[in-house]
Amino acid sequence: MIEVQNISKSFADKKVLQNISVTFETGKTNLIIGQSGSGKTVLMKLLVGLIEVDEGNIFFDGRNFTVMDFKERKNVRKEFGMVFQGGALFDSLTVLENVVFPLNVFSNMSKSEKIDRAQFCLKRVNLENAGHLYPSEISGGMKKRVAIARAIALNPKYLFCDEPNSGLDPQTSIVIDNLIKEITDEYQMTTIINTHDMNSVMEIGDKIVFIYKGSKLWEGSKHDIMQSECDELNDFIFASEFTRLIKKHF
């Protein structure tokens, strides 16, 4: 469980996030949605400590991450897995080496154990035959899946995914969404996903948090979202003709 208490962040004079409080529960897929530029990536980077908060606290199962030093954070970070917006695979390493990398850093496994574990994770994302390829040799969807395999290599307790299916076709997106959902259930992780894809919202949104211009305006589950009374949220969800049509027949 991750508890976020009253966090705010500004860059120079620009307020990017204001006073956000929210709880992300264990074993659930928590979605952060909002327009481009609303602050989703910044929020996620605050959670993992890539950017420091100006105010507020973040607790990982009761541990206050905000006040920790580098070493203490490293202990918590062992339990993190993160899928970046662009995949962020290491170009100079093969797919298999990418997945082995976090194991090299954190685990005391033998070389063959690490490779077995990496192969297992690649199999989990249906890429068991791509281990020898370099990131430049695989498709965007495959990169995302490798990034997921790398993120789950250490059996994380907390999984962060920044737009895991942006730039992918709807079918591949759903495959990736469901993969994340399955893994979350299977290992009882606390999963947080940034997205602006309504398909994802309706497919795997156990909990949905709507960020609008840096503030949290709404939260609920995929079952509540169709009836929400929040105007900004409705403008966001029902932005296209297609979604308005769905709402009419709902």
């Binding site: 980077k45 993992v48 890539l50 580098f70 954070r73 490293k74 970070r77 062992k78 993190f80 993160m82 970046f84 917006q85 662009g86 995949g87 962020a88 695979l89 290491f90 170009d91 990398f101 976090p102 090299n104 850093v105 954190f106």
Partner: protein
């Protein structure tokens, strides 16, 4: 001025990060060995080629400038030797390496920055600055002196070959000049310069890459800046070191 101070401050902070909290030692060893190949070994070719031609040109120019029959012809060998050792094999080679290695480092690290690979390292609790930059600094500082020595030998050979082939100087006179009034400290001076230049090239280029923001265009700009600034800093330190070491 404000901006210059800002960059110098941030550069110093980055270096502090590079030299603190090393990760597992073995990882560094492997990385450094890899970098020795990419940064050092892969530069041998270009250093050999430019050195041969530079040595040849120095010899020919010296030969054509000696018109006074009172000036002994062996001075051509001496001139080639001292020009190569004092300036070309360290400074000019340094500038060429700034172009080759510097742009390479800035674009590599810059790409890692804009594609969030550096964030991915940080999230694993890795000191990304140290992990990425320290092996490159070590590799350059270890290998560049060899490049300088190679450049000295090859350059002098190029001078000898050009002099003898064009008939500007006889082989015996050239070789006599090479041995005449040799100051071993000049070699030490050149090697000290090389080590300083190696550090400058890698750290300045890495700085440009590490703080790159934006996309592919920005990476390109960072790599251009890396070459320009590391060259400027090299020229500046060339003057400083020369004043410190050679001034009587």
């Amino acid at each position: 001025m404000h901006l210059l101070l800002y960059h110098i401050g941030r550069y110093v902070l980055l270096l502090k990060k590079v030299f603190s909290r090393p990760e597992k030692g073995r990882v560094y060893l492997n990385q450094t060995l890899d970098e020795l190949v990419t940064i050092g070994f892969n530069s041998v070719g270009i250093v050999v080629i430019i050195s041969i031609f530079m040595g040849a040109v120095i010899t020919l120019q010296t030969a054509y400038n000696i018109e006074n029959p009172l000036i002994p012809i062996y001075l051509i060998g001496l001139g080639t030797r001292d020009s190569m050792i004092l300036e070309f094999s360290s400074t000019v080679v340094g500038l060429v390496l700034a172009g080759k290695v510097g742009s390479n480092i800035a674009s590599e690290i810059g790409t890692m920055r804009v594609t969030e690979q550096i964030d991915a390292l940080e999230i694993m609790g890795i000191n990304s600055a140290s992990f990425l930059i320290l092996p490159k600094i070590l590799a350059a500082v270890i290998f560049f002196p060899f490049l300088t020595v190679i450049s000295m030998f090859v350059g002098i050979f190029g001078g000898w070959a050009a002099g003898v082939l064009t008939g500007a100087v006889s082989s015996t006179a050239f070789i006599y000049g090479l041995q005449y009034a040799f100051v071993p400290f000049y070699v030490v001076y050149a090697l000290i310069k090389t080590i300083v230049f190696a550090f400058i090239i890698v750290s300045v280029s890495a700085y440009e890459g590490y703080y790159c923001q934006g996309g592919a265009l920005e990476v390109g700009r960072a790599s251009t800046r890396a070459v320009v600034y590391s060259s400027l800093v090299i020229l500046l330190f060339n003057v400083i070191i020369t004043q410190l070491l050679l001034a009587k």
